[in-house]
């Protein structure tokens, strides 16, 4: 890719990750949440792939790391849900072991933020893995 694309995407990627972090951490008080933030994280990496090529990105975030990260996200969600079950009887129950805080603050909605983080890991990693899979095919054909 040309120098312009490379420079712009180098500048843009940290901003995208920052916005993604904002969306994820404020998922329970504003629009968005783990899924939207996760998509944004994956988009940041996909932008890097487009600008610098698959080899550059895959050297930093490998295929198997993506798989592991995805499983990690799913496991986080399950464990948080089980915590709800253990302390509050119902699966996914939002129980009082987390700090409650005031409405509008970041740490205010109990377990929601944990779900958001887990979902972010799951979604971003699965998007990235799917993209890797489809790109690898192109590379093999060359």
């Amino acid at each position: 890719m040309s120098l312009i694309v490379k420079t712009v995407s180098r500048m843009l990627t940290p901003v995208m990750l920052l916005v993604a972090a904002y969306i994820i951490l404020h998922g329970h008080i504003t629009h968005g949440g783990g899924f939207q933030g996760g998509v944004l994280v994956a988009c940041a990496f996909i932008l890097l792939i487009i600008a610098f090529g698959i080899d550059y990105v895959e050297a930093k975030v490998s295929f198997s790391f993506g798989q592991a990260f995805r499983s990690l996200g799913a496991t986080i969600i399950i464990i948080a849900a089980l915590v709800g079950m253990v302390f509050g009887f119902w699966f996914f129950k939002n129980v009082g072991v987390y700090p409650y805080g005031f409405p509008g603050e970041v740490f205010s909605a109990g377990s929601l933020i944990i779900y958001n983080l887990g979902e972010m890991a799951n979604v971003s990693a699965s998007f990235l893995v799917a993209f890797y899979f489809l790109i690898r095919f192109r590379r093999r054909r060359k």
Binding site: H31, F35, L134
Partner: protein, 120 residues
């Protein structure tokens, strides 16, 4: 008022047409996408109110009172449903694309007329 529904029916018809009549795997996948988008749009249109506000509680809604908020806000449930449905259709499309990639690797073509190893 009925305009969104007309568009939905139109999209669904296009999607069904693509799935049934096209002979290229990619076009069939595109038909699937258009079909599910039509249904999603229909679901969203169900929850819409003319002049509605986003169904999110924040400082100002508390000031105006919750009653007016209930009547003004659009129905949030279809939006949650459609978000889920979009994720699911993304999964289906990813699976379909992966299969199409594999088929292309084996056959070297995406035309269904040339991919006929199954008995009929």
């Amino acid at each position: 008022m009925n305009f969104p529904y007309v568009v939905c029916v139109f999209l669904i018809m296009i999607g069904l047409y693509c799935i049934l009549c096209k002979r290229n795997l990619l076009k069939i996948i595109l038909g699937l996408i258009i079909l599910s988008d039509g249904v999603n749009l229909f679901f969203i249109a169900l929850g819409y109110k003319a002049g509605g506000v986003p169904p999110i509680l924040h400082g100002e809604t508390f000031k105006h009172g919750l009653e007016s908020f209930y009547t003004a806000a659009v129905d949030p449930l279809p939006q949650a449903f459609v978000l889920t449905a979009i994720v699911i259709s993304m999964g289906v499309v990813t699976a379909a694309l992966a299969l199409a990639v594999k088929i292309y690797q084996l056959y070297g073509t995406l035309e269904t007329t040339k991919i006929r190893r199954l008995k009929h």
